[in-house]
Amino acid sequence: MRLVLERRNEQSVAVAVLSPLLAVVLTLVTGAVLFAVLGKPPLEALRIYFLDPLTEPWALQEMAVKATPLVFIAVGLSLCYLANAWNIGAEGQFLIGAVAGGGIAVATHGTGAGPWVLPAMLLVGAAAGALYALIPAFCKVRFGASEILVSLMLVYVAELVLDYLVRGPWRDPKGYNFPTTAPFDPVAVMPTFSEASRLHFGSVLALLVVIGAAVVLRSTLKGFEIRLVGAAPKAARFAGFDDKALVLVTFAISGALAGFAGVVEVSATVGHLQPGISPGYGFTAIIVAFLGRLNPVGILIAALFLALTFIGGEGAQISLKVPLDVTKVFQGILLFYVLACDTLILYRFRVMPAHPKAAHAA
């Protein structure tokens, strides 16, 4: 007797609801064991990890702040991935967007420029992100060079561009030659909901992007094209869709969203340009995109969930005095459970009698 996977013919609603719950239960049990082994009170640890962030208004706002860039980037990436275009370099597009948009803030610093500055930053940031993403897309369609490699290498280049600018030409003249630009003027700062809060209007924009992407994918021809090219490239070609143009389009959109996320992030939470403006958002967003099953609403939930694990992990470091590594291990295990339980939605287990023929099949 052996267990094998079998594709479900139709997706069951009950399973779709139960699978995340199963992941949660497994996580809680594993977490309790892990913390007990470490000599920490298991129930309290789980409370700090999962309940505290959800019950404190401050932590909820911080979750939204943390999830915002992930949502922007992951929605864009999901369009790429649906169309079989492999953009791995969102981190670089994020940085270039931040650099280009932030550049306007640097250029207008102290000039008393009007309220047009922030909208201009957002537009330029998105445009720069799109252009930067078009480099690998162009290399792909023109020369057949792998977009995975080119987009990944351009991440390192973007980091160094930012580094060069903030240490060189854009350095704050009053900043003792430290690697930051001058602080952005108020017209270049994304407004927050209240004085004391970090929750900013970028989060609202992220929600709009989720809704927009959901509408585009579900009910427009472009959305259909994206889904078709990804699912059945040959059929799409017969239908007259240009798969090369689609690579360019989806890369441009995801680059624009990543660049937008970058400029939103520097104008809302950092307030100037400096190295290290991204804690790896471009890479985390790849997990978010797949965790959300490349679906805009799913991505929203996945981003909030990941934000919860970051903030809960920070709480655990402070209150339980566990090292960061423990929270990382826990986060990894958690993601594994969610990914594994996802399987149940598409497949079911079946017990098979062990006979020689079946041994081949698995």
Partner: protein, 357 residues
């Protein structure tokens, strides 16, 4: 389903009540930029934190957050420490400056200490080390010990602390041998042992027989040991990694400062301030002088004593820039602290350019 939620809520309340027990200890928080296992910058701060626990035992409680990103996360991480009841918070990297200043403004009843920055407030003090003092001594030793008259310098990023360190080393070297040469490699990282070792090898292959570094790991020291050349340690005493190679090391010793500030906080006498401690305060320490003849050792000790007692200043005027012209002397007989804190020029005798200039 509904019942499940109610049960969860009750459980949460019960647990919450249990956790909110009376706390009379002073809670102290540390925000680190690297992992405590970096055996470099962050590790030395962690040594300070552990020393606090040792000294004050149950009068205090300490927490730390490691590998905190200097961008969007910093403000949240610092605020999370405040909200968990920490009353004294040390943020230990330059990149935390703006975030620390923002949170300090928001919580006037919490004391903050930011390392290596320049923004201060009623409840935000700054502290740093005059590491350049040690580097002058390294320069003198290098000039006495080098046969090729070439120092190899592994630099991280062109921030003033690194630039002033290179200048101080060359001033020291020139005080012995005016024609000493320095080769500089910027590795664009604080922390990549492999790359630091590669840079050290490249410098040695190009004829440098004394390696100095302003990066965190002992990789260069180990390489020097293998190659049979000499090197200076950084952040901590690296003699273990180079028993035949290490001449001395500049040790970042934060413990005395942390102890002093925590004492003040416990007595409720904490006030803001700006401490830039050097050899005198013990914040900068020299590891034992090893692998050198006695006369070189004596010279190093004398220079160390002279700097410590204030009899000499590393950036004594006139200091000539690369163009040979003397730099404006804002501190009377030596460059002002402000000039050193913002240093972005190389002195005469260094052929390289300051990146980004």
């Amino acid at each position: 389903m509904r019942r499940l939620f109610v049960a969860a809520a009750v459980l949460a309340l019960a647990l919450g009540a249990g956790a909110a027990q009376a706390q009379n200890k002073l809670k102290i928080g540390f925000v680190y930029v690297g992992p405590i296992g970096d055996y470099g910058w962050t590790y030395q701060h962690e040594v300070g934190r552990r020393a606090l626990m040792e000294q004050f035992k149950d009068k205090i409680e300490t927490s730390y957050l490691e590998n905190v990103n200097e961008g969007p996360d910093a403000e949240r991480s610092i605020e999370a420490l405040v909200r968990a009841g920490h009353k004294l918070i040390f943020t230990t990297s330059f990149g935390f400056m703006d975030a620390t200043a923002k949170v300090a403004k928001k919580y006037p009843n919490v004391w903050f200490e930011h390392a290596t920055g320049y923004k201060r407030d009623k409840n935000l003090a700054t502290y740093s080390g005059r590491f350049y003092e040690g580097r002058y001594i390294l320069g003198q030793i290098a000039a006495r010990m080098s046969k090729t008259n070439t120092i190899g310098y592994i630099a991280s990023f062109p921030i003033p602390e690194v630039v002033s360190g290179i200048n101080a080393m060359m001033l020291g070297a020139q005080s012995i041998k005016p024609d000493m040469k320095i080769k500089i490699i910027w590795v664009n990282t604080w922390y990549d042992p492999g790359k630091e070792a590669d840079a050290a090898k490249a410098l040695a292959d190009q004829g440098a027989d004394i390696i100095a570094q302003h990066t965190d790991s002992p990789a260069a020291m180990q390489m020097a040991e293998q190659r049979g050349i000499k090197a200076f340690g950084q952040d901590s005493d690296m003699i273990k990694f180079g028993p035949k190679a290490q001449l001395t090391a500049i040790i970042n010793n934060w413990t005395p400062y942390y102890v002093e500030r925590v004492k003040l906080a416990l007595d409720n006498k904490w006030t803001t301030g700006d401490v830039w401690g050097g050899l005198k305060s013990g914040l900068v320490q020299m590891a034992p002088y090893t692998n050198m003849p006695d006369d070189v050792k004596t010279m190093a000790q004398q220079t160390e004593a002279a700097i410590r007692d204030g009899k000499m200043h590393v950036f004594k005027c006139p200091v000539s820039g690369q163009d040979g012209k003397a730099v404006e002397c804002k501190g009377g007989t030596h460059l002002s602290d402000e000039q050193i804190l913002g240093m972005n020029f190389f002195i005469k005798g260094i052929d390289d350019k300051v990146p980004g200039k």
